[in-house]
């Protein structure tokens, strides 16, 4: 995948993810609507390719206003990854030299890889994750399950231990998928299924669309270095 194709695909996927989030915000307090209507307008410009790269730079500037409005990310990790993607992409578009553009874009791909690997590492050094206890706690009493019926999973310790090890193994092994394009494609499909499951079970729909938007940079990075 060429740099230009990957960057354009990332722009479009990220703008669509931001439109989805912004539409949800329009259902919220009236005083937030101008901010998110402006964000939708800028996203439409990015998707259409109008006023490039200034529509993207406008989105990056607007992200600071949004951060101030909510005194931090609205939706935790999904917003953090969205901000990272937006700022890397903006830097990749505005940087004066090709090597700086590639560096900014490649950094996003690298961060995507690390998002899985570090998450796996943090889990595997925790005895509660290795025993399945942490996942049991999530289902038993955390605020995340979308329905009370899902709490019944807390009574299946064997299944939860297996799920914990499946998640940890996948996350820790993810960097190895960069060795070839087919293995990376399989890794990204598995990751997308993981995010889809999180969206269904815990309502984290924004993670799915935001992480999907960061897939083209890692596909380009794989092509560039392997």
């Amino acid at each position: 995948m060429s740099f230009e194709t990957a960057a354009r695909l990332t722009e479009i996927l990220l703008a669509l993810a931001l439109i989805q989030q912004s539409l949800e915000h329009l259902a919220g307090p009236a005083r937030e609507r101008p901010l998110f209507l402006l964000r939708i307008a800028l996203c439409v410009a990015v998707v259409a390719g109008w006023a490039a790269p200034w529509a993207l730079a406008g989105l990056a500037a607007l992200s600071l206003v949004t951060l101030h409005r909510f005194q931090g990310p609205y939706n935790g990790g999904a917003d953090r990854m969205g901000l990272l993607a937006l700022w890397c992409l903006t830097a990749a578009r505005l940087a004066p030299a090709p090597q700086w553009r590639e560096l900014a874009f490649g950094y996003l791909g690298l961060q995507l890889m690390l998002s899985y690997f570090i998450s796996g590492w943090v889990k595997v050094v925790n005895p509660d994750w290795r025993s399945g206890r942490a996942l049991r706690d999530v289902f038993q009493f955390s605020a995340y399950p979308v329905a009370e019926d899902l709490r019944g999973w807390a009574n299946r310790p064997g299944a939860l231990r297996a799920m914990s090890w499946a998640v940890m193994s996948f996350e820790l092994a993810f960097p190895l998928t960069l060795l070839s394009l087919p293995s990376l494609a399989v890794g990204l499909c598995a990751a997308a299924i993981f995010h889809l499951a999180n969206a269904c079970l815990f309502g984290l729909n924004r993670f799915f669309w935001t992480w999907l938007a960061a897939y083209p940079p890692i596909l380009w990075l794989q092509h560039r270095f392997f």
């Binding site: 931090g72 939706n75 924004r206």
Partner: protein, 110 residues
């Protein structure tokens, strides 16, 4: 909710309790349209912020989130944060924060 600022809060209502079950269709729909649950997650993160680093912003956001669910704008609103943790095989609940009563009419919810 309280009738007066100095009334005692004896009965507490859980904020947005989860439904018994959610259908696959509803899960699929929420992939594209999930504003209520995302707002609930934001209120939860404000609750964590309030316990770790208390700010008026976090308290205001929680009050606004609760007030949006109420039909009436009369009376006073107070909330408390109950955190659950595991102690061995048992679950322990602890109230880590209780807001001061706020007049509902003064809360910028909508």
């Amino acid at each position: 909710m309280l009738a007066a600022e100095d009334a005692s809060a004896d009965v507490w209502r859980e904020f947005r309790p989860r439904p018994r079950r959610v259908s696959l269709f509803e899960m699929a729909r929420r992939m594209l349209w999930n504003p209520r649950l995302n707002e609930t997650l934001f209120v939860l993160s404000c609750a964590e912020r309030l316990v770790e680093t208390p700010t008026a912003h976090s308290e205001d956001q929680i009050l606004a989130g609760i007030a949006r669910d109420l039909d009436s704008s009369a009376g006073w609103l107070v909330f408390r944060l109950v955190f659950v943790r595991r102690e061995g095989e048992a679950l322990a609940r602890e109230v880590l924060f209780q807001s001061r009563p706020r007049r509902l009419a003064d809360i910028a919810a909508r």
